[in-house]
């Protein structure tokens, strides 16, 4: 069977899309000298030296640990704040609820740089500079609103009668919420966690400014790979590859719910 035009187009598109990533992968398996000397479509003499260096040098791998730490903290905080808030928005009518719901989203309209100065001053006052929690908290400003929006969509998809049935069955609110309601919106929670993760994982400006040495993220470590001897290409490429991995993993887990999540749970 001859491949159809559309198929060919898609394959071409995919190739172009993956080319930069492949190129990075290619570079990550070569030595600096090799990279600078000749153009090669594939590593003739692949080496894992770059990866080994990252996994053995604390200056490098602690960057990953720091990033993962504050991202995880941020996801946990965002979810635990957004879940009750989203439930309130989806189930109750109160004064100004619609305005407040919209106002939440406006928080995301400001670029992170706007908050840089106030954050810096506040955090240094409280002695939080260069801690994981500082970055995690800073990111919640952007993630909580989004999380509330996504979760509210998913929660509103659960009929209110489910809540009421649970009360009739004799459930108190906390147990209902944990054992019935959360399992019903678990895909929404997954998608929300993904979006929080994504923002926090790639956000560089706040993360870099609020940290120094103890809690600095991997992206900051990477910008510091420019030494007196020039750029360490292979090492940077390897670090870049490793930075993609966690995101790819998370996407893999929530791939079936992505579209719904992007529509803020309103599909």
């Amino acid at each position: 069977m001859r491949p159809r035009k559309g198929t060919i187009g898609l394959i071409l598109y995919l190739l172009l899309l993956l080319l930069p990533i492949y190129w990075m992968f290619n570079m990550s398996l070569r030595t600096n000298a090799d990279i600078l000397n000749e153009f090669a479509l594939y590593p003739a003499d692949p080496t894992f030296a770059n990866y080994i260096k990252i996994f053995t040098d604390p200056a490098w791998y602690s960057g990953y640990i720091n990033s993962i730490t504050y991202v995880a903290m941020n996801v946990l905080i965002s979810l635990s704040v957004a879940l009750p808030a989203a439930y309130a928005f989806s189930r109750y009518r109160f004064l100004g609820d619609k305005h407040m719901f919209f106002w939440l989203l406006t928080n995301r309209m400001a670029p992170p740089a706007v908050f840089l100065l106030p954050f810096l001053q506040l955090y240094s006052t409280f002695g939080l500079i260069d801690t994981h929690i500082a970055v995690a908290l800073a990111h919640t400003l952007f993630n909580v609103p989004l999380a509330v929006w996504i979760l509210e969509g998913f929660m509103s998809g659960v009929p209110r009668e489910i809540d009421e049935t649970a009360y009739l069955d004799g459930y108190g609110f906390p147990r209902f919420f944990l054992t019935i309601f959360l399992p019903l919106i678990r895909s929404g929670i997954g998608v929300t966690a993904f979006f929080c993760f994504m923002f926090s994982w790639v956000e560089l400006l706040l993360a870099r400014t609020l940290t120094d040495t103890v809690a600095n993220p991997i992206a900051a470590t990477m910008t510091r790979a420019v030494g007196a001897t020039g750029l360490d290409w292979g090492l940077l490429a390897a670090a870049g590859m490793l930075t993609i991995v966690p995101g790819a993993l998370v996407i893999w887990f929530v791939r079936n719910y992505m579209a719904k999540g992007l529509a803020l749970g309103r599909v």
């Binding site: 049935t165 009360y167 069955d169 399992p183």
Partner: protein, 370 residues
């Protein structure tokens, strides 16, 4: 098993009065249907009985004991919702067993009760399925099963059949009726479908705009509606309302002079009751069943002339629709009368079944029961 009493029940949402001064005594084991158009307060009333809405005023008593401040659980009621409200992530068995587990019943007892209810509802082979693998009718059965296993004092049904198609609705109606016979538990059932109300209820409670308009057994509500609202709401096809004037006839009897032309004699038995309305504008209410397109016109029956617009064949019978003095009305005819659309015909009225309605208040003038 419980007698349920509602005393001066009120519910306000801000300034909106959803339910006003509802008084009702429901006997133990009675099947009561609250019926009315959407927004009439019937669901709110039910939810107050369930304990899902707080009362603004009044009392709810189960077996003489005030339950106003009890939680839904403490009231020991079971409710079936229109949307079934099954837990989607649990199997049918778990859905049904859930409430029992919380009550702390022993495993064997739970199994026994679920099996019993499942047998009663014919869903025994569905026990391991998830709700999404069930059809609408099966889901509704599971929802009812979940209610049954709890052995509640009162069953509350909130428009349980509204999501089902017509055929299934008819079938489920029969099953609910059968279930009530088998269990003999008090049932309060809310619907906007007057056919459900007529077929299921021991007593119908017609509500409108937050108030109870009429309470009575189905045939009473059907035959002796208290006002125009009930007359129009109960019964399909809808009752016809024709503007008329009450006048004296030659022999001392009364006649209705229809606005659209035609004179109809009022039955003698009603002369006394209708006397006060002599020479006043009134409305005559009469069901299509008691109007018929007269074929032969043989012995000069009581009737009026109208032009048929459309004839709707239902199978055994047919309905002729016509416009009379600007009002849409319908009358019975024979299926073979289809061809007569557009013709001018004599429509005969069976005046024994007429209702006289005060034009201003909408009240149906009561007549002595024979």
């Amino acid at each position: 098993m419980a007698e349920v009493i509602l005393e001066q029940l009120c519910k306000n949402y801000g300034t909106v009065e959803a339910v006003r001064d509802v008084n009702l005594t429901i006997a133990d084991g009675e099947f009561v249907v609250l019926v009315g158009p959407s927004g009439c307060g019937k669901s709110t009333t039910l939810r107050m009985v369930a304990g899902l809405e707080e009362l603004t005023g009044g009392n709810i008593k189960f077996n003489g004991q005030i339950v106003n401040d009890l939680t839904p659980k403490q009231r020991n009621i079971a409710m079936v919702f229109q949307s079934y409200a099954l837990y989607p992530h649990m199997t049918v068995f778990k859905n049904m067993a859930f409430g029992l587990k919380l009550k702390g019943l022993a495993k064997d007892e739970i199994k026994r009760r679920v099996a019993e209810a499942a047998a009663l509802l014919d869903i025994s082979e569905l026990m391991d399925r998830k709700p999404r693998e069930l059809s609408g009718g099966q889901r509704q059965r599971v929802a009812m099963g979940r209610a049954i296993v709890r052995q509640p004092l009162v069953f509350l049904f909130d428009e349980p059949l509204s999501n089902l198609d017509a055929a299934l609705r008819g079938q489920m109606r029969v099953e609910i009726k059968r279930l009530h016979k088998a269990l003999a538990t008090t049932i309060i059932y809310v619907t906007h479908d007057q056919i459900e109300a007529m077929t299921l209820a021991d007593r119908i409670v017609v509500m409108n705009a937050g108030r109870v308009v009429q309470v009575g057994d189905p045939m009473t509500v059907y035959n002796r509606p208290i006002d125009k609202f009930v007359a129009a709401f109960i019964g399909t096809p809808k009752m016809n309302f024709l503007a008329a004037r009450l006048e004296t006839a030659g022999g001392g009897g009364l006649v209705l002079q229809l606005e659209g032309g035609g004179t109809l004699p009022v039955p003698e038995s009603r002369t006394r009751a209708y006397q006060p309305y002599l020479n006043k504008a009134v409305e005559m209410g009469i069901r299509p069943d008691h109007l018929s397109v007269d074929d032969a016109g043989g012995s000069e029956p009581a009737g009026f002339e109208a032009t048929i617009d459309v004839v709707e064949v239902t199978g055994a019978g047919a309905l002729a629709f016509f416009s009379f003095a600007g009002v849409d009305a319908a009358a019975q005819c024979l299926p073979r009368d289809t061809a007569r659309a557009g013709q001018r015909v004599l429509i005969a009225a069976d005046m024994e079944h007429m209702h006289l309605i005060e034009t201003d208040s909408g009240r149906v003038v009561p007549v002595e029961t024979a």
